[in-house]
C-alpha cells in the first residue's frame, strides 16, 4: 500500500509538477503559485485522511483540482458581471466562419491522422498549447476545467452555476476555435 512521502519532501519533489499542472489550466503564473501553496497546506491538514490508494503526487493533484474548481467558483461569486458567459458566447463564435449559410463546411477538413497517434506527437501538442493560449482566456480556462474534471458536465454546471445549454455552447465554440487554429498552425496531418 502506498504511503505518503514525508511532507518535508512535498515541495521539492512535487512542487514543480503541481505548478506546471496549475499553469496549464489557469494560464496565470501568480495564481498557479498561490494554488500550489494552498494545495500543500491543505495536504498537511488532511494527510491523516490519505487512503493509501494512490501515489503522493496523484493525491496532491487531486487536491489541486479541487482548489482550482474552488477558485473558479469564488471568482464567479465575486465578479458575476465581469464577462458574463452569455455575452461571451455572443461575442465570439468561431463556428460561424466555418460554415456556409446553408450549413455546409466552408473548406474541406484536413486529415489529422489517427487520434491516438496524434496525442503522442509532441509537435501537435505544442501547437495545441499555442492554440489554447490564443483562445479568450476565460473560454480556455472553462475548457481546461472541463477537461481536467472527469465528472459529467452536469456536475460542472451545478458547481459553476451555468446552464447546461450555455456550457455546451461555450465548449462547442472552444473546440471549433481550437480546430480552426490547429488547421492553420499544424499541417503535418497530410503526411501521415
Amino acid at each position: 500500500m502506498p504511503r505518503l512521502d514525508d511532507p518535508q519532501q512535498w515541495l521539492p519533489r512535487h512542487g514543480d509538477a503541481l505548478y506546471r499542472y496549475a499553469l496549464l489550466h489557469l494560464r496565470d503564473a501568480a495564481l498557479a503559485e498561490e494554488l500550489v501553496q494552498e494545495t500543500l497546506l491543505a495536504g498537511l491538514e488532511s494527510q491523516h485522511n490519505f487512503a493509501g490508494q494512490s501515489s503522493t503526487r496523484t493525491w496532491l493533484v487531486a487536491i489541486l483540482k479541487h482548489k482550482m474548481l474552488d477558485h473558479y467558483r469564488r471568482l464567479r461569486r465575486e465578479q458575476p458581471e465581469a464577462e458574463p458567459d452569455a455575452q461571451l458566447a455572443d461575442l465570439l463564435d468561431p463556428a460561424a466562419s466555418q460554415f456556409l449559410p446553408d450549413g455546409h463546411w466552408t473548406q474541406p477538413l484536413q486529415r489529422w491522422g489517427d487520434p491516438h497517434g496524434l496525442a503522442q506527437r509532441q509537435q501537435f501538442l505544442l501547437a495545441l498549447e499555442e492554440c489554447l493560449a490564443s483562445l479568450p482566456p476565460r473560454l480556455a480556462r472553462l475548457f481546461m476545467l472541463r477537461t481536467l474534471l472527469d465528472e459529467a458536465s452536469e456536475t460542472l454546471c451545478q458547481e459553476l452555476a451555468i446552464t447546461p445549454t450555455n456550457l455546451w455552447t461555450l465548449l462547442y465554440r472552444a473546440r471549433m476555435g481550437l480546430r480552426r487554429c490547429l488547421e492553420r498552425d499544424w499541417q503535418q496531418g497530410e503526411s501521415v
Binding site: Y19, R20, L44, L125, L128, Y172
Partner: protein
C-alpha cells in the same frame, strides 16, 4: 431532410457532454455515413480530447516551467508556519 454539417458538428461536440437522444443518434449516424468532412471532424474531436488529456498528464512529468526561487521560498515559509501552529 438531412441534418446540416453545422448541426452535426454541434451534436458531435455535445456527444462528449451528454448522451444523445435516439433520434439524434440516428440522424447523426446517417449524416456521418454520407459526409466525409464531418467524419473527419469527429476524428479531429477525438484527437483533440486525447491530446488534451496527454498534455495535462505531461505536466506531471519532470520537464517544463518550474516554480521561481521566490515562489518556492514563499511556499516553504508558509509550510513552516503551518507546522509551528
Amino acid at each position: 431532410m438531412m441534418m446540416s454539417c453545422r448541426a452535426a458538428s454541434r451534436l458531435l461536440s455535445e456527444q462528449q457532454e451528454r448522451p444523445l437522444r435516439l433520434g439524434e443518434q440516428l440522424a447523426l449516424r446517417l449524416h456521418l455515413s454520407l459526409c466525409g468532412n464531418c467524419l473527419q471532424f469527429a476524428r479531429q474531436l477525438t484527437g483533440l480530447q486525447l491530446s488534451l488529456r496527454q498534455l495535462s498528464q505531461q505536466q506531471l512529468d519532470d520537464a517544463g516551467p518550474e516554480l521561481s526561487g521566490d515562489a518556492r521560498a514563499r511556499i516553504a515559509q508558509a509550510l513552516q508556519q503551518y507546522k509551528r501552529r
